[in-house]
């Protein structure tokens, strides 16, 4: 008897949990205007949720953004470090549980996570054009203002910074840098075992494979391909062939690959490899400043350009302080904060500002920022910048690489 009751209760509890899925709570209202937000947000605490794995990034938030946000707008910043997948799971649960008043005001997001959050209705908006500095500083026609990894943004997020895949080599050890896929093959042939790349799904390794796809078949071809494994395989086959052609000249004859970019970096810094790569464009400056690499370290990209992506901030549907969220985002894309973020001593992340919209002094602020040694100037990075493709294709390409290159 007790057994039956317990089982029935358990099933009932399970069902009760699933029923929650059906109802969709209405988002709480945002501020009526940006000026109203400025007024009502004063004295509040704004909660920022985002990846907390980088000391430099945390330092920028805690010691640059937080004090100036408090002194300029009277808002206290509370930063909660949490990985984006956990953030989305938490929001998703709150969505199902009809919790209209959550804990997060601003989240740090991009790519496939943005796609998931947007399609599951976890975000507040559209709101971006209502942020004063967005209207003032951001180019509305820029590709990354409108698309995040090929996903239409539609006002649901605001760009915070730009990253770009770069390659690094020591000019004292390598006199000619490979600035195309063909040159890479040639150099790898001459310096057998001295080149390799991290195995996807490592983020940087995955970007490198896409960069090779752009080199061999072009961005348009893969961008226009449907989200379908067979179709994508047909389109990228020449690039897969190229990677297989490169393979015997790689480290360990390409029988294996470094598991992540940290392993690649370590092998490069210990002299095992002739190059390394990073999705942090000013990485070389950081390595030289930390004395981990010689001053002869140089950054380079392919002549046809390297993949870049943009990372964004968004407001969850159940943010309790949308007014304060507006002001924080406004502050994050101010010239002062973007310049401080660019400083290699802080974070070394590229600004999202449209330089042509800035005043002479504002441009000078950006130009006067210390970006470190051995790096490429921002202008060159921006002209040799290729967009990301749709987030869903990224996973398919990673799978194809595994089947056609790694396991072949």
């Amino acid at each position: 008897m007790i057994k039956t009751i317990t089982i029935v209760l358990m099933i009932a509890a399970l069902l009760a949990l699933t029923v929650g899925c059906a109802a969709r709570p209405e988002a709480t209202k945002g501020p009526s205007s940006f000026d109203a937000a400025l007024r009502s947000a004063r004295g509040k605490t704004v909660t920022f949720y985002g990846w907390g794995g980088s000391a430099a990034v945390n330092n920028w938030f805690d010691n640059v953004v937080a004090p100036s946000l408090l002194s300029e707008f009277g808002i206290t910043l509370r930063r909660v470090p949490m990985n984006i997948d956990e953030i989305l799971r938490k929001l998703s649960t709150e969505r199902q549980a009809n919790q209209t008043r959550g804990d997060m005001d601003v989240i740090w997001i991009n790519g496939e996570n943005f796609y998931t959050a947007k399609t599951q209705g976890l975000l507040y908006g559209p709101f971006n054009t209502r942020i004063a500095n967005f209207a003032r500083h951001i180019d509305p026609a820029a590709p990354d203002t409108n698309y995040d990894f090929g996903v239409a943004i539609e006002g649901m997020s605001v760009p915070l910074g730009r990253a770009q895949l770069i390659f690094m080599a020591d000019s004292a050890r390598l006199d000619r840098f490979p600035t195309s896929a063909e040159q890479l093959l040639e150099l790898a042939r001459v310096n057998s075992g001295r080149f390799t790349y991290p195995a996807p799904p490592d983020f940087t390794g995955s970007a490198f494979v896409r960069n090779i796809i752009y080199e061999i078949v072009g961005f348009e071809a893969i961008n226009n391909a449907p989200v379908d494994k067979a179709a994508i395989k047909t389109v990228i086959q020449p690039a897969l062939d190229f990677l297989n052609q490169l393979e015997p000249y790689l480290w360990e004859q390409g029988r294996t690959y470094p598991a992540d970019v940290a392993a690649l970096d370590r092998m490069f810094l210990e002299g095992q490899l002739l190059w390394s790569m990073s999705y942090t464009p000013l990485k070389a400056g950081q390595l030289i400043a930390q004395n981990r690499a010689p001053a002869s370290l140089r950054t380079f990209v392919f002549d046809e350009g390297n993949i870049g992506n943009t990372h964004y901030v968004a407001i969850p549907f159940n943010s309790p302080n949308k007014d304060a969220a507006f002001v924080l985002i406004h502050h994050l894309i101010s010239v002062a904060m973007q310049a401080a973020k660019l400083d290699v001593g802080n974070w070394g992340d590229l600004p999202v500002l449209d330089l042509t919209r800035l005043s002479e002094t504002e441009r000078a602020t950006i130009a006067g920022t210390n970006i470190g040694q051995g790096v490429l100037p921002m202008s060159e990075l921006l002209t040799k910048r290729l967009p990301e493709i749709h987030a869903r294709k990224v996973a398919i390409i990673e799978e194809l690489w595994r089947e056609e290159v790694l396991q072949r």
């Binding site: 057994k3 358990m10 899925c21 998703s92 598991a259 002299g271 996973a395 790694l406």
Partner: protein, 281 residues
């Protein structure tokens, strides 16, 4: 009543976990009971490779560490060492966390590690790439080194205690009747040690089978053990991958549970035999 419902309450999380695997989901909009995710996992080539690899790694680690550990215990008994300080030396690897051993193994055996530097200094190699790949390699040498370093002393300690508990008169009688030391070890002590070895084998196998951090940090990208595969699916934001990750977790638990059942019944048979004919006065 409290006592009667307790097992069901304890089992509730497992039921919840299993239901999630079969598709009843609270977070994402995929629902309905389904075997789809299990089939997707089972039909995947990567999963089969991964399952075989995980079982092989665990089997080899178990075999080598139990044979090695038992041999070490015999040797200690024979040499009459086993005092306090020997036990402390054996305890050291046992209490060291796997993560620490993993880092140590990496720093010693990597292509730019201590051993590689030593061979370079001695003039055997002139480039780190010439040093054989012993971590991140296809044969799981690095992973195996961690398991063996941790498990051989563990097995040796347990077996040594067990051997000391067995009266040495059995051995003396054997020797008196003309048995060689090898025969004494294999015919007299080994059968008596069987229940102990079955227990240590179960523990070592279960650990090597379910361990995450060691293969995650020292494994090759070419094949991945099941726990690593489950983790990579878990951090994938695709809701379908979440369900597949859960399915792999259930499979790992099922295999571990199945092995535990097989072992416990085998153990019962072994100890029954021992009681019925071994220890009769």
């Amino acid at each position: 009543m409290k006592a009667a419902s307790k097992p069901y309450l304890l089992a509730a999380p497992l039921v919840l976990f299993l239901t999630l695997t079969f598709g009843l989901s609270f977070g994402y909009e995929i629902s309905g009971l389904t075997l789809r995710h299990f089939l997707a996992v089972l039909w995947n080539r990567d999963f089969v490779v991964s399952l075989v690899a995980t079982l092989s790694v665990a089997a080899v680690a178990t075999l080598v560490s139990n044979v090695g550990g038992a041999a070490l215990a015999f040797a200690m008994l024979k040499a009459r060492v086993g005092g306090e300080w020997v036990r402390h030396i054996l305890q050291l690897p046992v209490i060291m966390p796997h993560l620490v051993v993993t880092v140590v193994v990496f720093h010693i055996f990597a292509q730019t590690g201590v051993l590689a530097r030593l061979t370079w200094w001695l003039g055997f190699i002139d480039d780190p790439n010439q040093f054989p790949l012993m971590v991140f390699d296809h044969f799981a040498i690095g992973i195996m080194l961690v398991y063996l370093y941790k498990q051989i002393p563990f097995v040796a300690m347990v077996c040594f205690d067990s051997l000391r508990g067995i009266s040495h008169r059995f051995g003396d009688v054997g020797e008196n009747l003309g048995a060689t030391p090898w025969q004494v070890a294999t015919r007299v002590y080994l059968p008596l040690l069987k229940p102990t070895l079955m227990a240590t084998a179960l523990i070592t196998f279960a650990f090597a089978f379910g361990a995450f951090e060691v293969p995650f940090l020292l494994g090759t990208p070419l094949w991945r053990t099941l726990p690593v595969e489950a983790y990579l699916l878990h951090i994938n934001i695709d809701p379908d991958a979440q369900a597949r990750s859960m399915a792999i977790n259930v499979i790992i638990s099922a295999i571990s549970l199945g092995l535990a059942l097989v072992y416990s019944s085998a153990l019962r048979v072994v100890s029954h035999v021992r009681h019925s004919d071994g220890e009769r006065p």
